[in-house]
């Protein structure tokens, strides 16, 4: 809804833009560099077109990257990790055996993201690139310590996912950069994980979500516990200190209590149309307890 000076216009139509469908990455990068902030990259379009009709995002030039073959790849290297190209759809990942078997925590996030129709178009990279706190794949990817491969005409760089989110709708991407793929390292040996999403109805955006990854809980030397959240604050977040905390050689019940305390001290949930701060405080606490218990004992 655009407030134009003193009236609101609820648009039915998309704004005008010029459309490009480059066949090579180089071509895309040159366009991005030429138009800088006036251009937006489109993969599945489910996010971009949604935001553009509402005039929440503006773009004079839309660069559709689905014609770039090299971006449509899923590559897995045993022991190293999984690389998912920018135009790989969530449905493709949902049906991918590697994702399902090796990255169940991510698969759990994908399964709960929007609906099949949307997942048939939407991409994993796109889910991250809008910088929305509600991105359902982000918490899982944060616990997996995913990295984004970013390119521009000036070269390439890698951004840790946890450094990528810069506030609601904001990311570390420069106007002439795009994400070509996300790299997800091999999960720690013996890791289990789940994404618990709290919703108002089926097929809802998250009130909030919790991803918990646990490996070797009973062995303090090899124990890894990571916890990340969607839609609690203005970005998806991982609470780094949790991993350190769980390294201590103490009873797990005690550690879990300390972790809850730590999270509560670090995170002040927001209030919005989906739920109050008080509800999110409760979900954060009880949801985390629940996931820790199920993953550690189960």
């Amino acid at each position: 809804m655009a407030v134009s000076k003193s009236v609101i216009v609820f648009h039915t139509l998309l704004p005008e833009f010029e459309y490009f469908r480059p066949k090579t990455l180089q071509e895309a990068l040159e366009l991005l560099d030429k138009y800088q902030g006036d251009a937006k990259v489109m993969a599945g379009g489910t996010g971009l077109l949604f935001f553009m009709r509402l005039r929440w995002m503006q773009a004079k030039y839309v660069i559709d990257i689905k014609g770039i073959k090299e971006l449509h790849t899923i590559k897995y290297e045993e022991g190293k990790g999984l690389t998912v190209g920018a135009t790989v759809t969530l449905s493709e990942l949902f049906e991918n055996e590697i994702v399902k078997n090796k990255y169940p925590i991510l698969w759990d996030g994908i399964r709960q993201l929007a609906d099949m129709h949307i997942r048939n178009r939407a991409t994993l990279v796109g889910n991250l690139c809008f910088g929305m706190p509600s991105a359902d794949t982000a918490p899982a990817l944060l616990t997996l310590k995913a990295k984004l491969n970013v390119v521009s005409v000036n070269g390439t760089r890698t951004i840790e996912l946890k450094d990528f989110f810069k506030g609601e709708g904001k990311t570390a991407l420069k106007p002439n950069e795009m994400v070509t793929s996300v790299f997800i390292p091999e999960p720690p040996e013996g890791a289990k994980g789940r994404y618990l999403k709290f919703v108002r109805t089926a097929d809802d955006g998250p009130i909030m979500g919790i991803a918990v990854l646990v490996a070797n809980p009973r062995d303090p030397a090899k124990r890894i516990v990571r916890i990340a959240f969607s839609n609690v604050v203005s970005t998806p977040i991982i609470i780094d200190e949790v991993e350190e905390l769980f390294k201590q050689d103490k009873p797990l019940g005690e550690l879990a209590e300390e972790a809850i305390k730590l999270i509560k001290s670090k995170v002040t949930p927001k209030s919005d149309v989906r739920g109050s701060r008080e509800l999110r405080e409760h979900l954060m606490e009880y949801g985390t307890r629940y996931l820790l218990k199920t993953l550690i004992e189960g």
Partner: protein, 787 residues
């Protein structure tokens, strides 16, 4: 019976083929596009509207502002500006409009309109709006035209009020041993139909106005459009097409006047105004919120003796049907129980929020949430089983006096039977099996309900049946088809009465008001009852003409002719027949002589013995029938997520069903909608009155994953004698018990009493913390990690 009572497929099969036509699909050659622009203030004086830049956009034909239309329109009260004049009354109030050759041009120009405002303090809460020093939404209320049974109070925000008085309330409470007093609250909600409102209008050179639009009631649109714009009724032609859902939100006049007025100003060019979802949430009326204060008393042996209430509806900026809902809740202020002393005042109150109107249930879902909670709370105080308590007080047809002092007709239905059957189906008295997760709690809840149409005492219907050359039939009725399936049920009645297959009956998808028979409205679950009765009379009329011709041909008395299997036969000699085809256009003897002529049956209906409520007491016979029923649920409350899941939902209706499959569809649809309203639906506003969820992203309607595991329903087949095959309305009834039943079940599951809707996770967790904090401690304990 061969057709009635059978689950035959719906006759609107184009809907599965893909060529069913909705107003959304309709276009006219040369059509131009209107776009409304809205104000970003809940309450503000309009100082200046500037639109020179907008006019310069290529393709723009005109920009209109409130000043172009210096009059008000409305349903029961003319409280509505075409476009805001002098001041804007809510955030999103249309303040100007553009008409252009294309929608692109209209949208582009719309952005260039500039308005200067002087913000005024808004009033955003109904209780605040009732206070004497509250800002006034409508300062000139005294100038507004209104129906005689609407009582606006100039100088206040009260759009109307109703007084209900039965017995003596002080005496009633003096007899009461237990009294329960509570305030119930629900915010505004949305009807959530899928087809956004669209209207395409044109004006002809002879002054005829034509409109194709998404509406429920073509004749109401015609009447209100004509009276609002000062047009003769026969010069207004309303085209009804298949409607993509209404649920009350498209009753009466909607925005039809806007494209009509624009077309008038543009030399009759066809003008299309099509809303998108966000616009629909701001420009179309939603459902009122409410505060209901209730005080109810009973004797220690479980007899209800007194009920006092003050019911306040938050009507938003324009009160549309909400003024009549204030009457509805006042006239049926409690469940289907007999109470000797009743004293209720109901009000519809203007606030600076989106306008409000009807929604499936027309106030009764609201009343019954509160009233059926009161029943459970009283039963608890009395230490009595809630079902038993209800059976002790339930209305008895032929004996009881209703809250409006009407003695129920003896064939009014079976309220007690419905309560007993619902209790049996939910296995009342048998506690639910508790799940093994210690953070989940199950409970059962119950609610009884009733409703009749809220309509004028003379709300009429009519029907025309034309017999065609081949014995097929065209049926002309005025009722709208919005999914409820009335036309299929009407076709079944025709099939039954004439003994012809449903395939030989046509009820055209389009209803033109100048070409079909009149009906007052398609609302209030009245369609089948009212149009059905008119249709049966039309069929009687047709059959008497058939009998007359056949009697002449066979040289017998008319009562010696029976009509079956599409033929008129001599009683006792089924081989002596004339087919309906042979006489449809007149019967011809072998020598060429002809008798009869084309056969047309006509029939009418008005409610019988209904009366206008007495303004001091509400005493009246307000409805031609009541459908009675009961609903019961088993729920599971999850104290980690705060969500409530309905595992099992049971609904019993006392009426017979013309088409059980279609009634099942109403029950399942109403159950899922009603439960979702109970649990999650609400229109949310910020502190400036801005609606925050004008879309399906944040206004959550139920999905397939949300439906109860089990939905069971039963009709008891207890008919009312004057209803078509005994069948009373069901459409709205299927919504009514759920908020109360679910709240009662939550109380049963976790011992938390709720008085507000929706019972969303926020609310559940908040109230558990307040009322049963030990439960959360228990959950915490259960989630402790061992070791």
């Amino acid at each position: 019976m061969k057709y009635v009572g059978k689950s035959i497929p719906r006759i609107d099969r184009e809907k599965v083929a893909g060529d069913a036509e909705y107003a959304y699909d309709f276009t006219l050659p040369g059509m131009v596009y209107a776009k409304l622009v809205a104000a970003p203030y809940a309450h503000a004086k309009i100082l200046k509207v500037k639109y020179d830049e907008a006019l310069k956009v290529p393709g723009v034909l005109a920009v209109f502002t409130g000043a172009d239309f210096p009059f008000k329109v409305g349903i029961y009260a003319a409280d509505r500006d075409v476009l805001a004049r002098e001041k804007v009354l809510y955030y999103g109030h249309p303040v100007a409009a553009v008409v252009a050759e294309t929608l692109e041009a209209a949208e582009k120009a719309a952005e260039l309109i500039e308005v200067e405002y002087e913000p005024l303090p808004p009033v955003l809460d109904a209780l605040e709006a009732m206070k004497p020093d509250a800002p006034l939404v409508h300062e000139k209320l005294h100038e507004y035209k209104h129906a005689p049974f609407i009582y606006p109070k100039p100088g206040t925000n009260i759009a109307t009020y109703l007084k209900l008085r039965k017995g003596n309330i002080e005496e009633g409470f003096s007899k009461a041993d237990v009294v329960v007093e509570n305030t119930y609250y629900e915010p505004l909600i949305s009807q959530g139909y899928l087809e956004n409102w669209v209207g395409i209008a044109r004006v002809k050179s002879d002054g005829t106005v034509e409109i194709w639009s998404s509406h429920q009631s073509p004749f109401a649109v015609r009447n209100l459009l004509a009276t609002s714009l000062g047009l003769p009724i026969h010069k207004v032609v309303v085209h009804h097409m298949y409607l993509g859902g209404g649920f009350g939100g498209k009753a009466g006049l909607l925005l039809e006047h806007i494209p009509v007025l624009f077309s008038m100003k543009l030399g009759g060019r066809p003008v299309r105004l099509e809303l998108n979802r966000e616009e629909n949430s701001f420009y179309m009326a939603q459902r009122a919120g409410y505060y209901f204060k209730m005080k109810t008393g009973a004797t220690k042996d479980g007899k209800l003796v007194a009920h006092w209430g003050e019911y306040i509806l938050d009507a938003g900026a324009y009160a549309d049907y909400t003024v009549n809902i204030a009457r509805s809740v006042g006239l049926k202020p409690f469940g289907p129980f007999e109470i000797e002393h009743v004293h209720v005042d109901s009000y519809a109150v203007y606030t600076n929020k989106v306008p409000t109107t009807a929604f499936r249930g027309f106030g009764l879902m609201e009343v019954l949430f509160a009233a059926e909670r009161q029943m459970d709370l009283l039963a608890k105080k009395l230490g009595m089983d809630p079902v038993e308590f209800r059976l002790k007080n339930v209305l008895v047809p032929g004996k009881s006096l209703t809250h409006t002092q009407e003695r129920l007709r003896e064939d009014a239905g079976d309220p007690a039977g419905a309560i007993r059957e619902a209790a049996r189906l939910i296995e009342w008295g048998k506690p639910p099996e508790q799940p093994k997760e210690p953070w989940k709690f199950r409970g059962k809840g119950f609610a009884a309900f009733w409703k009749g149409p809220v309509q004028p005492s003379n709300a009429a219907a009519s029907a025309i049946v034309k017999l065609n050359d081949d014995g097929s039939v065209d049926v002309l009725v005025g009722t709208g088809e919005m999914g409820q399936g009335t036309i299929t049920a009407l076709a079944q009645i025709v099939a039954e009465e004439l003994g012809i297959p449903v395939e030989k009956i046509r009820i055209a998808p389009e209803r033109r008001t100048d070409m079909v028979a009149y009906t007052w409205q398609t609302v209030g679950s009245r369609g089948l009852f009212s149009d059905g009765q008119a249709l049966i009379r039309a069929l009687e009329d047709l059959k008497s003409q058939i009998r007359k011709i056949a009697a002449q041909v066979f040289r017998v008395f008319e009562d010696q002719i029976e009509i079956r299997d599409g033929k008129a036969c001599v009683v006792g000699e089924p081989w002596e027949c004339i087919s309906l085809a042979e006489m449809a256009l007149g019967y011809m003897y072998p020598n060429g002589n002809a008798i009869g002529g084309p056969l047309i049956g006509r029939g009418s209906h008005v409610p019988v013995r209904n009366t206008i409520p007495d303004p001091e007491t509400g005493k009246s016979v307000p409805a031609p029938f009541y459908t009675f029923g009961a609903g019961a649920v088993e729920v599971e409350v999850d104290l980690i997520s705060g969500r409530v899941k309905v595992l099992k939902a049971v609904m019993v209706l006392d009426t017979p069903a013309i088409n059980p499959m279609l009634v099942a569809g109403q029950v399942y649809g109403g159950t899922v909608m009603g439960i979702n309203i109970a649990l999650i639906e609400e229109l949310k506003f910020d502190e400036n009155g801005r609606l925050l969820n004008p879309n399906f992203t944040e206004y959550k309607v139920a999905r397939a994953g949300d439906i109860p595991d089990e939905m069971i329903f039963k009709t008891l087949g207890v008919g009312q004698k004057d209803a078509p095959y005994g069948a009373k309305g069901v459409g709205e009834l299927t919504m009514l018990p759920w908020p109360a039943a679910v709240a009662n079940a939550i109380a049963n599951a976790i011992g938390v009493e709720l008085y507000e809707l929706p019972m969303k996770p926020d609310k559940i967790i908040e109230e558990v913390k307040k009322q049963r904090p030990e439960l959360l401690e228990k959950v915490k304990e259960a989630l402790k990690i061992k070791g």
